[in-house]
């Protein structure tokens, strides 16, 4: 267990309030929870990559960051009228 893994667990624990945002309340609140949880997940992936010394896996948080932008935009678009 090194510093990076401890930080990854610390940041990963932020997913609990994100889960509450996503699972309860209005649809608007859930969209905010989705965007926040994708951001937190990207940071956790980067921390785990360095923590486990698997530096080529930095592609994973990069891909997640790019894909989560599209996912958030699609949900926001549907939220306007259809959900």
């Amino acid at each position: 267990m090194n510093l990076w893994l401890i930080a990854a667990f610390g940041v990963g624990a932020c997913l609990f309030p994100c889960a509450d945002l996503c699972l309860r309340g209005t649809v608007e609140r859930r969209l905010v929870g989705l965007e926040l949880s994708s951001l937190i997940a990207t940071v956790v992936c980067a921390l785990l990559t360095v923590g486990f010394r698997r530096l080529p896996f930095m592609d994973l948080p990069l891909t997640l960051a790019l894909m989560s932008l599209g996912a958030g935009l699609v949900f926001a678009r549907f939220l306007e009228r259809d959900l």
């Binding site: 510093l3 932020c14 945002l21 990207t42 939220l79 009228r81």
Partner: protein, 112 residues
């Protein structure tokens, strides 16, 4: 010294993510919650990039960390704007500022 700086950067990553998560969680209105996304997206990712640089030097991981940081900073502003626009459209049926909304805006001058 480098170890201490790495530790401080990682502490800033964890702290900023917690501030963002708890702030977004505690706010009543989703519009208010959206503002807290910027803390982990800017402070958190910049601190993370600094920590990766301190740990690995100028490696491919650092360059990818810089790209991740740039993508998250840019996508956070785009995503927050899209979400705010969607929330406003869902509530009011439109997203343009109109009189009586309580939002300051510069009225478009009509051509005479």
């Amino acid at each position: 010294m480098r170890h201490l700086l790495t530790m401080a950067s990682l502490a800033m990553v964890v702290g900023s993510c917690w501030i963002g998560a708890l702030g977004a969680w505690r706010m009543r209105d989703p519009m208010q919650s959206l503002h807290y996304l910027s803390v982990p997206a800017t402070v958190g990712t910049i601190s993370l990039t600094i920590a990766i640089f301190l740990e690995t030097g100028w490696s491919s991981a650092t360059i990818k960390g810089i790209v991740v940081c740039a993508v998250l900073v840019a996508s956070n502003s785009i995503g927050a704007h899209a979400a705010a626009r969607a929330i406003r459209t869902r509530r009011l049926g439109h997203w343009e500022p109109r009189k009586g909304d309580g939002v300051e805006f510069v009225a478009r001058q009509e051509k005479s």
